[in-house]
Symmetry: C2
Subunit: 247 residues, 2 copies
DNA sequence: ACCAATTAATTGGTCTACCAAATAAAAGTC
DNA sequence: GACTTTTATTTGGTAGACCAATTAATTGGT
């Protein structure tokens, strides 16, 4: 039962890094900084924004990850050669990007995994099959002992992602995993009955991957995730109600 | 014509940050650091790894983005409550993650955008339609003047991504955009003939989104991306040959 | 006036010192 | 002895100092 103090601490001012990113965005939009230009030196930015150089570097690092900046050691940091419009769009998205949107998370996972399982069915090697099987057995073993096995479940999916032989898709799924686990645990998707049916579904998915039946793999994964999705939704709705009644 | 010096400079040693991440991974695998534990203080890690605290912080930041660590100010940094196996898998992926894998990039884009356009067709608002139309017109305008319009093309796709109302999928597409543009420019996907057909394809996609015809939207996007994919592949193969003959 | 070689200034990379908040330890109180 | 209050220590947050590489400016020669 926590209410007032939480809502207060939740109102934290914009992080210094996002502030800097926003400022840089303004510099670009206003035309003071054109695509391809060199950024002012980190020290200059530090002074101009009234923040330590550490923050400037952190912001640059973040924008570099998104491909908007490129820094050459001992030379300077340069704005990507993208149109202002594209840069603007991406920066706006970076600032507001968070993985807390429950529905978006589950939905993205759903689509990504459907894509992944199709590719996996197509390309899996014998080693992939072995590691997927192993992960499946770990899951079943944990379940048969009446324990939670959320992570083993995810590991099964991770091994499938690896079998896609597509590092980008794999990485995207990996990025979502911790938040998915958090979500699943919080919404108690893993009931005892659920676990039993999940085992069956896993086996169907594996079977389809083994026979390289792309269509069947997709179907099996879809129904597997559909169930999880429904349960998550219900759990999330319940959680929402609890939160509301707390205020 | 560059050969020897490049292959030498290309052999850059593992970055300090990845080195630290690898070390942390070892600590976790070896059981010295269990899920839920608090990390040694940054200063301690700094001394133990023989690297400055800046690097430690950078590594922690990266792992935090992937959801593996959680740092509480003035208290400590904690390992996520995930099984060692999951953590191991994700860290391994982080270290080797790069968006330079050409085929993986295009393929991931293909699947993501197919998912996106279906959701967009389903959920687009009038505002979405307006911004998509606007982006399309910008593209056509630029093309009609005989100019390159790679970025305007991407903007068209970005607006569709925004219409999905799914921030996770949107962000994932956004992350790929700069690399996609780089790839497209390098492989000269944008020939003059190509541009003309691309305009038609864009219009078909937009039409399907307008009428909320999910299936048609998917088909239109698929054939649009298929063409780009094929051209990219050819361009990439050509580039490979050039690189090889340079040695 | 032009160009090469040398020097000076600037850059990001790296590390260390200081800060306020959070925690643990110690002292005081009943 | 149990509990509260105070103090000391440890933490991540922040800022600034130093370094080597790069780039710009200067110089000297022709």
């Amino acid at each position: 039962m926590k209410s007032l103090i939480d809502t207060i601490t939740a109102i934290q001012l914009e992080s210094p890094v996002d502030k800097i990113i926003g400022q840089l965005k303004q510099l670009i939009i206003s035309g003071q900084l054109k695509p391809g230009d060199r950024l002012p030196a980190e020290r200059v930015l530090s002074e101009r924004f009234g923040l330590g150089r550490s923050y400037i570097r952190e912001a640059i690092l973040k924008l570099e990850f998104y491909g908007l900046l490129k820094t050459n050691p001992q030379s300077g940091t340069y704005v990507a050669g993208l149109s202002i419009n594209v840069i603007d769009n991406i920066i706006s998205d970076i600032i507001k990007f968070n993985k807390d949107d429950f529905n978006a998370l589950i939905e993205a996972r759903y689509h990504l995994e459907l894509n992944a399982v199709k590719l996996a069915a197509e390309r899996r090697t014998e080693e992939d099959l072995a590691s997927i099987r192993s992960a499946m057995h770990d899951y079943e073993h944990k379940i048969s002992h009446g324990k939670d096995a959320v992570e083993e479940d995810m590991l099964f999916h991770i091994k499938i992602a690896k079998a896609t032989k597509n590092s980008v898709i794999e990485s995207m799924i990996l990025i979502l995993v911790p938040d998915l686990i958090k979500n699943i645990v919080e919404n108690k998707v893993c009931g005892d009955n659920r676990a039993k049916t999940a085992i069956k579904e896993h086996r169907q998915i594996l079977a389809a991957i083994e026979t390289q039946d792309v269509l069947k793999a997709e179907e099996a994964m879809a129904s597997h995730l559909d169930e999880i999705w429904q349960i998550s939704k219900a759990g999330f709705a319940a959680q929402q109600i609890i939160n509301e009644t707390e205020n």
